[in-house]
C-alpha cells in the first residue's frame, strides 16, 4: 500500500523541480543529495507550502494537489519535522506536543518518552539545548500523524541523540507509519532508510537501497558521498584506466576514451602482505592514511595510486593491526569497478 506518491514538477525560484517519490506504510524512505538539490523543496510541495505545476501528490487515497487544485497545508493530515525546531514561543515541552497530538496528553507523553525526553516535559524551550529542541520537534511530529516528513532530523544531534531520533523514526514506521527523511548525510540514510532517493539539481538521479548506491553510483556526488572512491582518467585499448596518479585495470565493457571509475569501499580488500593467489587484477601497495568509523564498520583510506577507500569491519581492522602509517596491499577486482565513459574529458 502506497501512503504517499509524489510525481510531477514544481517551481523553485526560476527553476523547475521534478519529483518522483513513493513511500509505503511501514517504510522509511531517505531523500539524500547535496545542499540546494531540491530535497527540502520536495518536502514543501508534499506539505502544501509550495504548489505543484503538474502531476499529482497523493496522500493515502486522497489527491491533495493535481496542479490545479491543492488542499491547504492544514487539511493534509501530515506531520513535519522542519530543519529548525520551530517551537512555539515560551510553551513548556509537553505543551509543544499536546496541541497537535492525535491522542492528546497520552500520545504526547508517549512520543516524548520515545525520544527519552520525559524528564524535560515541563521545561521551557529557552532552557533546552539545540539537540533537545530538535528532539521535541521530532516528538511533536510522531504524536501527530502516521506520515512523518523529517528534514535533517539529526542535524543538531550528537551520537546518542542521532541514535534516539533514528530509532524513534524506525519504530514509527514499524508501528505502521511512513517516514520520509531528508538528509545530506548518506550515513544517516544508510542507518534509517529502507529505500533511498537521490535528488541532485532538482531531479531524482538514483534510487535503491542505501547500501547499493555505492556499487553503481549514477553521479559523482553519489559515488563520493556513498563512500566510493572516484577516479577519472582515460581508458586505453587494453582496458587500463590511466588516472593522474596510477592505473587501474577495469572491465572490458567500456570503450577506450575518457572515463570515470567508482570503486565502492566494499569492493576493496586489504592485506598486510602482497597476496599471491588473488584473482584480483588490481594489486596496489600503499599505507593507511586515515581510519574513519562508519555506519557499518570502519572506512580505511590507503595511499595507493590511485587512492582507495576500503570498508572493513572493526574486527578485520583489529586482526590486520591497521593503524595510520601501516603498510598494506589493496586488491580490487576489475569487475567490481563501476566504470563509465565520460562524454568529454574535463
Amino acid at each position: 500500500m502506497t501512503r504517499v506518491a509524489a510525481h510531477g514538477s514544481a517551481r523553485v525560484g526560476d527553476r523547475t523541480l521534478s519529483m518522483d517519490l513513493d513511500a509505503a506504510a511501514g517504510e522509511v524512505v531517505g531523500i539524500i543529495g547535496p545542499n540546494g538539490a531540491g530535497k527540502s523543496a520536495t518536502l514543501s510541495v508534499l506539505l502544501g507550502l509550495r504548489r505543484l505545476l503538474d502531476g499529482s501528490i497523493r496522500i493515502g487515497e486522497v489527491v491533495v494537489d493535481d496542479g490545479r487544485r491543492a488542499s491547504p497545508a492544514d487539511a493534509r493530515g501530515l506531520a513535519w519535522v522542519p530543519q529548525a525546531p520551530a517551537l512555539l514561543p515560551r510553551r513548556r515541552v509537553i505543551d509543544q506536543v499536546v496541541p497537535f497530538s492525535r491522542e492528546g496528553q497520552v500520545g504526547a507523553s508517549r512520543a516524548l518518552a520515545s525520544l527519552g525526553m520525559t524528564d524535560l516535559a515541563h521545561v521551557r524551550p529557552a532552557a533546552l539545548s539545540g539537540g533537545q529542541r530538535q528532539r521535541v520537534a521530532v516528538a511533536r511530529a510522531l504524536a501527530r500523524a502516521d506520515l512523518v516528513l523529517a528534514d535533517e532530523p539529526t542535524s543538531a544531534q550528537d551520537a546518542a541523540g542521532t541514535d534516539a531520533v533514528l530509532s524513534a523514526l524506525r519504530r514509527h514506521a514499524l508501528a505502521g507509519g511512513t517516514v520520509v527523511v531528508v538528509t545530506h548525510d548518506p550515513t544517516v540514510a544508510h542507518l534509517v532508510a529502507d529505500h533511498v532517493v537521490v535528488v541532485e539539481e532538482l531531479a531524482v538521479t538514483q534510487r535503491g537501497r542505501a547500501m547499493d548506491l555505492a556499487a553503481a553510483p549514477a553521479s559523482d556526488w553519489i559515488a563520493t558521498n556513498a563512500g566510493a572512491s572516484v577516479v577519472t582518467g582515460v581508458v586505453d585499448t587494453s582496458h587500463v584506466l590511466h588516472a593522474a596518479h596510477g592505473t587501474l585495470v577495469v572491465s572490458d565493457r567500456v570503450p577506450a576514451g575518457p572515463a570515470r571509475a567508482a570503486i565502492a569501499p566494499t569492493a576493496v580488500a586489504l592485506h598486510r602482505t602482497r597476496p599471491t593467489t588473488s584473482s584480483a587484477r588490481n594489486v596496489l601497495s600503499g599505507e593507511v592514511v586515515a581510519l574513519e568509523p562508519s555506519a557499518d564498520g570502519v572506512r580505511v583510506r590507503v595511499s595507493t595510486s590511485p587512492v582507495l577507500v576500503a570498508a572493513l569491519t572493526r574486527a578485520a581492522v583489529a586482526d590486520l593491526g591497521l593503524q595510520v602509517g601501516t603498510g598494506c596491499w589493496a586488491t580490487v577486482k576489475a569487475t567490481e569497478i563501476d566504470v563509465r565513459s565520460e562524454p568529454s574529458a574535463r
Binding site: D74, P82, P89, R90, F100, R140, A141
Partner: protein, 267 residues
C-alpha cells in the same frame, strides 16, 4: 542575544557623534528639568490635592485605558492584515496606519468633528440612534484611540516583520486552523511588540491634547483630561500648571516603564 552583546567590549565612537548625542539629550531633558525646577516639584503636593487636577487625572485614567483597549483591539488586526497583504493595497494600509503619526492632532480632531459631529458625515445616523458624541467622554476615548492606534500598529508590524514564520507553518501542517495558529504561534510571538505598542499608545492617549480639545472640548469632570487641565491652568497660575504638567510627565514615564518591562518579559 542582548546578553552576548553586553559581554563584548564597546568600540569608541567619533567625538562629534558623542557631542551631538549630548545635545540631543539636553533638548529632550531640558524642558523636563525646567518643569521640575520652576514650580513643578514644589507644587506637586498642592497639585495632587487640587480637586481640578484630581478630577482631570480620573478622567484621563478612565478614558485612556478604554482608548488603549480599543487601539489594541483594532490596531493588532490591522497590523496582521497589512502584514499578510502584498501590493498597492498593503502599501495603502501601511500608510493609513502611519499617517496619524505625522498629522497634527488638531487636524485629526477636526476630521473627527466633521465625521461624527452634529452636522458631520455620520451625524444623521448618530442622531437617528440618539447618540451624541461631541463633548462626551466617548468623544475623548475616540480622539485618544485615533492617536494610540497607529503606535500599536507600528509596533506590532515591527514585531511581525521579525517573527519567524516557521512555527506558524508547523502549526498549519499539523492541522491548526487560522484561529489556532494565531493563538499558538503568531500572537505569543509578537506579544512583546504588542505590549510595547500598547504602552506607547497608552502614554500617547493619556497625553492627547489637540484632537481631544477639538472634538471633545474641555468640560471639567467630563472631557477635561490632564493635558487640558494643564492648558487651562496655564492662564491662571503658571506654577500650578507646571506641577500638573510634571504629574503628566510622571504618568507618562510610569506607563512607558511598565510597557518596556512587559515587552522585555515577553521577548
Amino acid at each position: 542575544m542582548s546578553r552576548d552583546r553586553d559581554d563584548q567590549p564597546r568600540l569608541a565612537l567619533p567625538r562629534t557623534v558623542v557631542v551631538l548625542a549630548l545635545a540631543g539629550g539636553a533638548l529632550l531633558l531640558g524642558p523636563l528639568v525646567a518643569l521640575a525646577v520652576r514650580g513643578g516639584l514644589s507644587g506637586l503636593p498642592d497639585a495632587l490635592s487640587n480637586p481640578g487636577v484630581r478630577t482631570a487625572l480620573r478622567v484621563t485614567a478612565v478614558t485612556s485605558v478604554q482608548a488603549t483597549l480599543i487601539a489594541v483591539l483594532l490596531g493588532v488586526p490591522l497590523a496582521l492584515v497589512a502584514d499578510r497583504t502584498t501590493g498597492p493595497i498593503a502599501r495603502f494600509a501601511g500608510l493609513v496606519g502611519e499617517v496619524p503619526l505625522v498629522v497634527p492632532p488638531v487636524v485629526t480632531g477636526l476630521g473627527l468633528l466633521l465625521l461624527l459631529g452634529r452636522n458631520g458625515l455620520m451625524g444623521g445616523l448618530l442622531d437617528a440612534a440618539e447618540l451624541r458624541l461631541t463633548f462626551t467622554a466617548a468623544a475623548v476615548v475616540i480622539a485618544q484611540a485615533s492617536a494610540a492606534t497607529p503606535l500599536v500598529i507600528v509596533a506590532t508590524r515591527a514585531g511581525l516583520r521579525t517573527l519567524d514564520p516557521l512555527p506558524e507553518q508547523v502549526a498549519a501542517v499539523h492541522g491548526a486552523g487560522p484561529w489556532a495558529r494565531l493563538r499558538l504561534a503568531v500572537l505569543p510571538g509578537v506579544s512583546g511588540a504588542i505590549a510595547l505598542g500598547a504602552a506607547l499608545g497608552w502614554g500617547r492617549a493619556a497625553g492627547e491634547f489637540g484632537a481631544t480639545l477639538t472634538f471633545a472640548g474641555s468640560l471639567p469632570g467630563r472631557t477635561r483630561t490632564l493635558p487640558l487641565e494643564v492648558f487651562a491652568t496655564l492662564e491662571l497660575d503658571r506654577a500650578a500648571a507646571a506641577a500638573a504638567a510634571l504629574l503628566q510627565v510622571l504618568v507618562a514615564v510610569a506607563v512607558l516603564m511598565v510597557g518596556r518591562r512587559l515587552s522585555r518579559a515577553r521577548a
